[in-house]
């Protein structure tokens, strides 16, 4: 009787927005979210201080040999590192836990008996996780650009075709490059959400995307048909290279955007379908 009444009750309009705001407030109080955000803001400065203390340069990373010559190389070196494992890890810290934590604390029954529908709760939580991913990525981008410009300087940069890029142009290209990784970052957020819902386990939700990202990295190092590289969610993290040549090429950017959107749609759609059908009364 009660169950029928709950099912028939119309969901409150604008409920997803309330859930979203509430999840954001929860995130700002979480130590791990604060820690990750702080790390994104501080790490680039510590990185540049460490680089300035020695004469060695990270030559094996693109633009790594110019870290002492121009500050614009710093955000690109950071982007090269971050795309390998840091961004998938940062984004899944929240995304992989945001549903699984309700399982851990056994609070599904509590929140699903409030006047919010399952889709409102799903939308609110997913949007909160996406907001966190975007904010941390933007913070890391701005902080590494600031660290480079303030601690190294705004000298012209040598692009990937050997031409000199003026400081203003370099700054625009750096910010554009960071903007292009937002899509694969959200793809990994979707993956974290899916694993969080499917496994009901935070360890799988947070660690899963990192492991999958590392496996994709390994696969992308092997000489394989282009289709294999194209289907990996880690490939779009390097699509910005084409912006720095004398004749820019955009093929990898277009391909990367499509692949990221497909990953995101499949993962978030799958997570939603799983949550809709879940029986929480037994848990």
């Amino acid at each position: 009787m009660t169950a029928v009444a709950v099912a028939a009750r119309p969901a409150v309009r604008g409920g997803a927005w309330v859930v979203y705001r509430w999840e954001l407030i929860k995130l700002t109080r979480q130590v791990k979210a604060q820690f990750v955000m702080g790390l994104c803001l501080l790490a680039p400065f510590l990185f540049v201080v460490a680089l300035n203390a020695q004469s060695n340069v990270p030559q094996d990373t693109l633009f790594g040999r110019w870290v002492h010559d121009t500050g614009f190389s710093i955000p690109l070196v950071v982007l090269g590192f971050a795309g390998q494992w840091a961004l998938p890890a940062v984004t899944s810290v929240v995304a992989g836990d945001i549903f699984a934590c309700e399982d851990r604390y056994g609070t599904w029954k509590t929140i699903l008996t409030r006047s919010r529908s399952r889709s409102q709760i799903f939308t609110g939580k997913a949007l909160a996780a996406m907001t966190f991913s975007v904010l941390t990525t933007v913070s890391l981008a701005l902080s590494s650009l600031a660290a480079g410009v303030l601690l190294v300087g705004r000298q012209p940069m040598i692009g990937l075709s050997g031409t000199l890029l003026a400081p203003g142009h370099s700054a625009v290209l750096v910010l554009t490059s960071w903007a292009t990784v937002l899509l694969p970052v959200l793809g990994f957020t979707g993956l974290g959400l899916l694993l969080s819902v499917a496994s009901r386990n935070s360890v799988v939700g947070v660690g899963g995307p990192v492991v999958i990202g590392l496996v994709m990295q390994l696969v992308s190092l092997v000489n394989a048909p282009p289709i294999v590289r194209m289907l990996l969610l880690t490939t779009p993290f390097g699509a910005w290279h084409g912006l720095f040549t004398a004749e820019p090429y955009y093929g990898p950017l277009v391909q990367g955007a499509v692949v990221s959107v497909v990953y995101f749609a499949v993962c978030v759609g799958g997570a939603y379908a799983l949550l809709r059908r879940r029986d929480v009364t037994g848990s």
Binding site: F63, L160, G162, A224, P225, I227, G238, T245
Partner: protein, 146 residues
């Protein structure tokens, strides 16, 4: 039934993409290395106090991989390139060698392999007496593999 369909789709995709082919080819590498070298050569010469126009260099790169038996395609650190350009007059061709490490994502690192005066040293003395990084010692670049 479902797995059969997936297998067919994967097989078709692999067939369409030309199974075994790679996005890294010697043609693409040639076209990336030659202009990059020319631009950096102009930069190095201007550091040394000599004005050179990139347009007059007519650079050409000839890149190959491993021995004669190895196909000239795919990522690896056994690529080598010979760059030829025209320096002081249209009839005088000059060459330089590079060991090249090409990655699967289309980015490469070229490591100078002679002549020593051109690309053998990490640091060179600029026209104003300052010690600067030699842009031709090692350089990075990327090309489109899609």
């Amino acid at each position: 039934m479902r797995w059969g369909a997936i297998t067919v789709i994967v097989a078709v995709l692999l067939g369409v993409s030309g199974c075994g082919s790679s996005g890294v080819t010697n043609d693409r590498l040639n076209r990336a290395v030659a202009p990059t070298f020319a631009n950096l050569y102009v930069l190095q010469q201007s550091l040394r106090g000599r004005k050179v126009a990139a347009a007059s260099l007519n650079p050409r790169a000839d890149c190959g991989r491993g021995g004669p038996e190895t196909a000239d395609s795919g990522a690896g650190n056994d690529w080598s390139c010979t760059v030829t350009w025209f320096n002081t007059g249209p009839n005088i061709a000059v060459t330089a060698s590079y060991q090249v490490h090409v990655q699967t994502n289309g980015c490469y690192t070229a490591d100078g392999d002679g002549p020593a005066d051109l690309n053998g040293r990490q640091l060179i003395t600029a026209a104003d007496g300052a010690t600067v990084t030699n842009p031709l010692w090692q350089f990075d670049g990327c090309f489109d593999t899609t």
